[in-house]
Subunit: 346 residues, 2 copies
DNA sequence: CCGTGAGGTTGGATCGCTCCAACGGCGGGA
DNA sequence: TCCCGCCGTTGGAGCGATCCAACCTCACGG
């Protein structure tokens, strides 16, 4: 695919073009574009008009090359399918754009299949900062990047990240689990089981929170855990096992909404009425939980707020890259819906 | 080599560094990296070792500036919340990466809030091509971009795009609607209603397909449409209206899965059993439709395949930018699940 | 013995921008 | 009147890559 011969002229106006049109020098145009205070109103006016007339837009690559920074941050999501990303991004975007930064999105899931080209390309591109969202697997590429540029991890993974200058912003998963247990005990439940979502850090913390809260409520002996895997299928299977026990639980706390949906299906399939005979609670307050047909009580991780805060933390870190990394936990909120109700009379 | 006014040295190795280490010239290193055939095995070896030793990675901005192309395509999604994007991207990603292109993702929804900075930044960055996914509103920015660089529109919008050199790849929405109607008539239904999703082009086409298919089945007189808006809420309301009629339909074709979920809730709320008393079918075969607890019959738009094809079309268009734009429709598939069943005996 | 061409290799120009040192004009203080 | 400082402005040197024309070896045929 070698294209021999003359380099094509793209025809797009450059600084040079604008300068000529405005009758000033390249440098002056540059100063105007970066709104330097030391430009006379007259020149500024002339330049701006030339810019408008020509429809000039600066070449990002050239700017990046000269400036040695890209005014761009990379956002690595672990799987676009996770609904909370959208909310998180809605919070993150405005903060970054407000600071004059652009956002590059990448899907870590696809990236993995692609031999991490994306992650590397973030580095090659020279992003000024990186947001790791969700439980990104700590591949060599990611670690290497996180070590060399300002990074904030938001969401699930990260608490065990243990990199010196990386900030971590997460849901207080343990607190969320506590909220659920308190809600359920408040309704009179004692046999409260948990369907875990173990592979992930978030899952582990939620399980931990469940155990602690149960003990704190004096229900340490009633702790009952079946393992799921954060999927609907896993939730279904685990719940079938739970509801088949002779001393079946009257309430189930699922590690996430998808698991909870699985639990709901299982209860329906076994003819156990929700919430009359068994209460179900999920985690994430995702779109699923909000569907009328499901209407699940769920812990809200305040994704939007997390996005905003992640943005601010990243901007601060870009300012002072070597500040010690901090961990910030956001308090979750319980959204009570139709899947939980009073414990059945014995 | 006294460099006056020394700018900060980032410490990252450059071509120069590698060349020095390998004892050859910059140019040779460049040739090796672009695997030119005219390099002696010895030099190639030496260069590659130096690259590995130094951990050299080419600077994307510099490359882009010199090459005048970015090896990158922009993907503008209209709203990350749409589940089919993930599947589409799973199809698109490998094709593009396979051709040595990177992918920049952008969320048009956020972008709108942000005054279209993203869209412009794609242009500034100099993406080689653009994928418009879903029903992107045709803002000035988008139109201007689509006019100046190779673009493929995939998914909902686009059929009415009417830009000379833009390819359009879409679901055959009308055919999908036909599949549903045929499935339902095959089950003995005649009073088949439709909950539309009008604002969007896809919604209009699905409605059109429904009408045509009804007529083709000799049920032109039974055409019954209530307007929804592609949301759960809209589906709920429309279905309440439909099921409250004296001659209530025995089957409802919803414009998308979310609408169908709303319809399901409405049926449940009104005490109408699904599928015994009313059959429901959706469109998109999204995660919702696949949830056991909902288990909706739905039209599958083969998002993964669309992604793959969109990638190929874009690559071709990048090769020959001025070829006439083509429109390609992909045949959908009906995924039959638990929400449809035989028409109730009269 | 020399011209020739192919195979490798090299320097330098270039991409479009930023940044810095230097420069010209103008007004005010000595 | 002269000098100095300040404000605006300018040319030029990078940034880190690509690419082309020029160049240097040799091997080989005449």
């Amino acid at each position: 695919m070698a294209t021999p011969g003359a380099r094509r002229d793209t025809g797009r106006p450059t600084l040079e073009t604008v300068a000529a049109q405005a009758g000033v020098s390249r440098s002056l145009v540059s100063l105007v574009l970066n709104n330097s205070p030391k430009v006379s109103p007259a020149s500024r006016e002339a330049v701006l008009r030339a810019v408008a007339d020509l429809g000039y837009r600066p070449n990002a690559a050239a700017r990046r090359l000269a400036e040695r920074r890209s005014r761009t941050v990379g956002v690595l999501l672990n799987d676009l399918r996770q609904p909370w990303f959208a909310d998180m991004l809605d919070g993150l975007g405005p903060v970054l754009y407000g600071a004059g930064k652009h956002m590059l999105l990448g899907d870590g899931h696809i990236d993995q299949l692609m031999d991490e080209t994306l992650t590397w390309s973030f580095l090659d591109f020279g992003v000024d900062g990186l947001v790791l969202a969700g439980s990104i697997p700590l591949s060599a590429a990611v670690v290497s990047i996180a070590r060399s540029i300002p990074t904030v991890a938001v969401g699930g993974r990260g608490l065990d990240l243990d990199l010196p200058h990386v900030d971590v912003l997460a849901n207080d998963n343990e607190r969320g689990a506590t909220l659920v247990v308190e809600h359920l005990t408040g309704l009179g439940h004692t046999r409260i089981a948990h369907v875990s979502g173990l592979p992930s850090v978030a899952g582990r913390l939620r399980m931990q929170g469940y155990q602690d809260a149960m003990r704190a409520a004096g229900l340490g002996a009633d702790v009952l855990i079946e393992h799921g895997d954060m999927s609907e299928e896993g939730g279904y299977r685990a719940t079938v096992r739970l509801l088949s026990r002779p001393d079946r639980p009257t309430a189930i706390f699922a590690a996430n909404d998808l698991t909870c949906v699985g639990a709901l299906s299982a209860a329906t399939a076994l003819g156990v009425r929700v919430p009359d005979e068994v209460s179900l609670a999920g985690f994430d307050n995702s779109l699923f939980a909000r569907l009328r047909a499901l209407w699940l009580t769920s812990v809200d991780g305040t994704a939007h707020l997390m996005g905003r805060q992640a943005g601010q933390m990243l901007l601060e870190r870009i300012e002072r890259p070597s500040a010690p990394g901090q961990i910030r936990l956001l308090p979750p909120r319980l959204e009570v819906r139709g899947s939980t109700g009073p414990a059945p009379a014995r």
